[in-house]
């Protein structure tokens, strides 16, 4: 039973989270200064159930050198369990470690630990206006002052099982998944909470679809929230779909996807959906217009070089290269996985050997 509980917990942990939006070049200077010109960090989630710790890798764009296990190399200790998301802000990388209940503040140049910040089950992470914002699975949004590296004593209650976060429009957007309440159809989720960064207060609750877990912003300040639905396991099937929230807080369904990335005004998507009841699977990679939702590209990636078992998609804001993380094979989620790098035209540039269950790419 214990193992099954762990399996369920792992699976539920996996249900959540994602790296926050990597920032758009057009965002104001108070936003993270990520450019994607130098390199990319890769967060390998490991597998808590099977006792595989998370790892941090780095891909140096100038030399194309891929360093596995950067954190262990730089610090002599392990990263910890289930890294969920990361953000580069200033000269530092912040990583939300769900299983180890902490946020690492790491020197982005050397990979060395700057500070270990205790945090209850952190999930999503993003940065704005001198703070790093962290959603905690116990229902709160926390923020860390990037000068003192102390977490605010006050955390803002946002709703059950907050997942991904992103910053735009002077606000932080938090996806409220209610992910542990699957038995009640995620009834207390269905929303994105918008928080003012100026006074760390709730500005609005925006109704979206079932079980939102990823939020990303485009160049116009539109927010895209991936609502994962119920995996075909509720009384009626609710499929995954992306909702679009405009800066004036109106929301509507947009396109189908399970993982997204935004660059300028293009939405890059993976739609990887299995109906649990019928075991029918659909998998595609597409690009959409953020403005209209029109399909810009039906086959985003070269059909000859598709990932074996995709997890998440990311786009480098600097050069538009597309990164897809994936497991070794569909049935092999423990072995070291891959990061696939595609040119903007969809051709495979290179496949990098990552760690176990590579989950997020954070551009530096």
């Amino acid at each position: 039973m214990k193992q099954l509980q762990l399996a369920l917990i792992t699976l539920l942990a996996a249900l959540n989270f994602y790296a926050c939006a990597d920032d758009e070049p057009s965002l104001p200077p108070s936003q993270p200064t990520t450019t994607g010109a130098d390199g990319a960090f890769v967060l390998n989630q490991g597998n808590m159930y099977d006792g595989i710790a998370g790892t941090l890798d780095f891909l140096d764009f100038s030399t194309d050198a891929y360093t596995s296990g950067l954190f262990l190399q730089a610090n002599g200790v392990q990263l910890g369990d289930t890294p969920q998301a990361g953000v580069v802000y200033g000269s530092r990388l912040y990583v939300a470690m769900y299983g180890s209940n902490l946020v690492w503040c790491i020197d982005a140049a050397s990979g060395r630990i700057v500070r270990q910040i205790a945090m209850p089950s952190p999930e999503g992470i993003c940065a704005a206006d001198g703070y790093v914002y962290v959603s905690c699975n116990d229902g709160y949004l926390a923020r860390i002052d990037t000068l003192s590296l102390e977490a605010d004593a006050k955390r803002l209650e946002v709703g059950p099982n907050p997942a991904g976060v992103c910053s735009a429009n002077g606000s932080v957007y938090v996806a409220i998944s209610d992910g542990y309440n699957y038995a009640n159809d995620y009834a207390n989720g269905f929303r994105v909470v918008r928080v003012n960064t100026s006074d760390f207060s709730k500005q609005a609750e925006i109704i979206v679809g079932m079980n939102p877990n990823i939020v990303q912003a485009d160049a116009q300040g539109n927010i895209f929230a991936v609502c994962q639905g119920n995996y075909g396991m509720g009384t009626t099937e609710v499929k995954p779909e992306v909702w679009k929230i405009t800066p004036d807080n109106s929301a509507s369904t947009f396109v189908p996807a399970t993982s997204i990335a935004v660059r300028e005004n293009t939405l890059y998507t993976i739609y990887n959906y299995t109906n649990y009841t019928t075991n029918e699977s659909t998998l595609n990679y597409r690009a959409y217009s953020c403005e209209t939702g029109a399909v810009l590209k039906e086959n985003l990636l070269s059909l000859n070089d598709l990932p074996a078992a995709p997890i998440s998609i990311f786009v480098n804001p600097d050069d538009g290269h597309i990164y897809v993380t994936g497991d070794r094979s569909v049935y092999d989620y423990n072995s070291p996985g891959y990061v696939y790098r595609y040119a903007p035209d969809g051709s495979l540039v290179k496949r990098y050997d990552a760690g176990s269950h590579p989950f997020a790419v954070v551009f530096k």
Binding site: D50, L72, S281, S329
Partner: protein, 656 residues
């Protein structure tokens, strides 16, 4: 059994391995005082309470891991789940019986043997690939069977007898027990017993993190157990009736995995079990028969208290019930014996989880035929199994299952000389299958109703040499060697379909072979000075043959060491007896893929025991002191669940 024949002929006389001839007639038992299992058609090993001391065995799990072919999954400490799998077949293929009838857990399909305290057991027998008994409940004829015999079923003794014991050990362990046995007339005996066990289990362990090593302590791990049972024995002229009622409760906290940088586990598990069983056995001339019934009720209340859950906690409550009836008869003539037995069981479960009112009827029948002539013993058996599943609340019921599974064995006494040297050779084949557990079939987000049963095929051959090299100084020697080849098909495995959804499917295929060697010897140095030696070595080679694209293909499955072994030496003398044991295992991986991160290094654990008995008039006192894991070896059996380091245990037992 090897241990028994070498170490305690008297215990053997009290506890013949053939339960059907159990104490039917003292004369008969005395006459059959040959070493148990020596001519067994399948590998069998028995360790009794005398051997527990001689092998410095301290827990039921410890006893089992000394046996060939056994992998005990141990989550560490007294409160950690302990399950037994044999020859790589998986714990769900191991049947655990308690006083003759199977202990059921339809939800998980495996039994936590940690709940059976060694001090309450008179013997543990492991039988692989069926049963040497012709007539036995069909469930007891499994891929592997662990038979636990309780002290409560002692043979009939006249008068009133009281036994009390107190154990105390490291990490806050205290365990008082008592048992009162009363005879009524020359044919009836009743006994009642009780057991309390408390432990904090807050043992220290070494945590390695990269280049750092820190000393930590297990936390949130205390447990408290109450158990009580009553037994009745009545002898008729040609038959015997036994009955038992028991209650068990265990409240524990679960320490969870060791996770770097955090320690806030807040899981609680409360389990209760009540059971009643009765068995009637008959033996007259060529006929033997038995009938038995059992009712078992179990609840499990699990809570993970954390604000991330709706209502502040994840709570899983289960109640299982089982009604079980079994019976059979055998008849023999001119070397031929035929037996038929049938089991019927109804199991149901309900819980607070979505879609979890499930029930199962099972009907198992076995027809067995044996021919014995001179040195030959040949046995054939056909088992027919029928399983019918039912559910409520509109949930699809799991697939029904039915199958005929054959087994056959031949034993040949290849050698017998006038000095008592015998050599038995055996060859056997057995098929068996298991149906999905309720968890595998119905658990939310994980279960599947389409699962087929998991099928195992075992082929094996072995030999047992028994000798008394010298009647003066080397009275007994037993050597066994067994080789086997196993196949598992349609193995039931949980895998993620994508990030979000895990499914339980039939996709595993495992092929494996192994070699098991054991030696038991006794030397007499002087009249009252004896030396006992036990050795066991197991080689297991198995490979996953499921999916050539996967990282686990062709590799040894998780948690299966290639090499494992144990040894124990005891020196018994008039002053104080001493035993030393060593249990060792080669490296293993905690995942089917062999990753540097999931490698569990080899380990060896050393234990010492000092024991002595005193007699003061009618009072017999047994004193025992154990030093467990004397070298403070730091190791894990299950990854991230460290095992305790050095510990002590003191036991005082009084019998009146």
């Amino acid at each position: 059994m090897a241990v028994v024949c070498l170490c305690s002929p008297s215990a053997l006389a009290q506890q013949p391995t053939d339960s059907l001839s159990l104490q039917l007639s003292e004369a008969r038992v005395a006459a059959s005082r040959r070493p148990a299992g020596i001519s067994s058609s399948v590998p069998a090993r028995r360790i009794d309470s005398t051997a527990f001391r001689r092998m410095a065995i301290t827990t039921t799990a410890d006893a089992l891991r000394r046996m060939n072919g056994v992998n005990v999954r141990d989550y560490g400490g007294a409160g950690g789940l302990k399950t037994v799998s044999v020859r790589g077949l998986g714990a769900a293929h191991t049947t655990v019986t308690y006083d003759g009838l199977a202990v059921s857990n339809a939800r998980q399909g495996q039994t936590d043997i940690g709940r059976f305290h060694l001090d309450n057991l008179s013997s543990i027998t492991l039988t692989v690939a069926g049963s040497d008994r012709l007539l036995t409940p069909v469930r007891n004829i499994a891929s592997a069977t662990v038979e636990l015999q309780s002290v409560g079923t002692a043979p009939l003794r006249k008068g009133t007898h009281l036994a009390a014991a107190l154990s105390q050990g490291s990490f806050g362990m205290v365990n008082p027990t008592f048992r009162l046995t009363q005879s009524a007339g020359s044919r009836t005996q009743v006994s009642i017993g009780g057991d309390f066990f408390h432990a904090r289990n807050d043992y220290p362990f070494t945590l390695k993190n990269g280049t750092q090593t820190t000393q930590e302590r297990r936390a949130n791990s205390n447990m408290q157990v109450w158990s009580t049972e009553a037994n009745l024995l009545h002898r008729f002229t040609h038959s015997q009736l036994t009955a038992k009622a028991s209650y068990y409760s265990n409240h524990r906290r679960l320490p969870g995995q060791v996770v770097l940088y955090t320690e806030n586990n807040n899981e609680h598990l409360e389990e209760e079990e009540a059971a009643a069983q009765t068995m009637w056995k008959y033996s007259r001339n060529a006929w033997q028969a038995f009938a038995a019934g059992k009712f078992q009720w179990q609840t499990s209340r699990y809570a993970d208290i954390h604000p991330q859950y709706p209502g502040g906690a994840s709570r899983q409550h289960y109640t299982q019930r089982e009604w079980y009836a079994t019976g059979g008869a055998s008849w023999g003539t001119n070397g031929w014996n035929a037996a038929y037995a049938a089991d019927y069981a109804f199991q149901n479960i309900n819980s607070n989880m979505p879609g979890s009112h499930a029930a199962r009827h099972s009907l198992l029948q076995a027809l067995s035929l044996r021919y014995e002539a001179g040195p030959l013993k040949a046995t054939a058996r056909l088992t027919g199994s029928l399983y019918f599943n039912k559910t409520k609340d509109g949930i699809t019921a799991a697939r029904d299952a039915h199958r005929l599974t054959p087994e056959a064995s031949v034993v040949w006494k290849a050698l017998k000389d006038n000095h008592g040297t015998t050599l038995h050779t055996r060859i056997y084949y057995k098929e068996s299958f298991r149906v999905p557990t309720f968890t595998e079939a119905y658990y939310y987000h994980l279960g599947s109703q389409d699962l087929r049963p998991e099928l195992t095929r075992q082929l094996g051959a072995g030999l047992t040499l028994s000798a008394a090299p010298s009647s003066t100084w080397w009275p007994s020697l037993r050597l066994t060697a067994d080789g086997y080849y196993n196949r598992i098909d349609d193995k039931i495995t949980s895998i993620p379909y994508n990030l979000y959804v895990w499914r339980t499917i039939n996709m595993g295929r495992v092929r494996g072979g192994g070699l098991e060697l054991s030696a038991d010897s006794r030397w007499r140095a002087h009249d009252k000075h004896h030396i006992f030696l036990t050795l066991a070595y197991t080689l297991q080679c198995a490979t996953d043959r499921t999916d050539p694209a996967s990282g686990s293909y062709g590799k040894q499955p998780a948690y299966m060491p290639r090499h494992a072994g144990s040894t124990a030496v005891a020196y018994e003398n008039p002053w104080v007896n001493l035993s030393i044991s060593c249990t060792a295992s080669g490296q293993r991986y905690s995942t089917h893929e062999h990753l540097p991160d999931t490698r569990l290094p080899a380990y060896a654990e050393l234990g010492f025991a000092l024991y002595r008995s005193f007699t003061l008039g009618k009072l017999r006192l047994d004193l025992r002191a154990d030093l467990i894991n004397a070298l403070n070896t730091q190791y894990e059996i299950v990854r991230r669940y460290p095992m305790p380091g050095r510990a002590y245990k003191l036991t005082l037992r009084a019998n009146l």
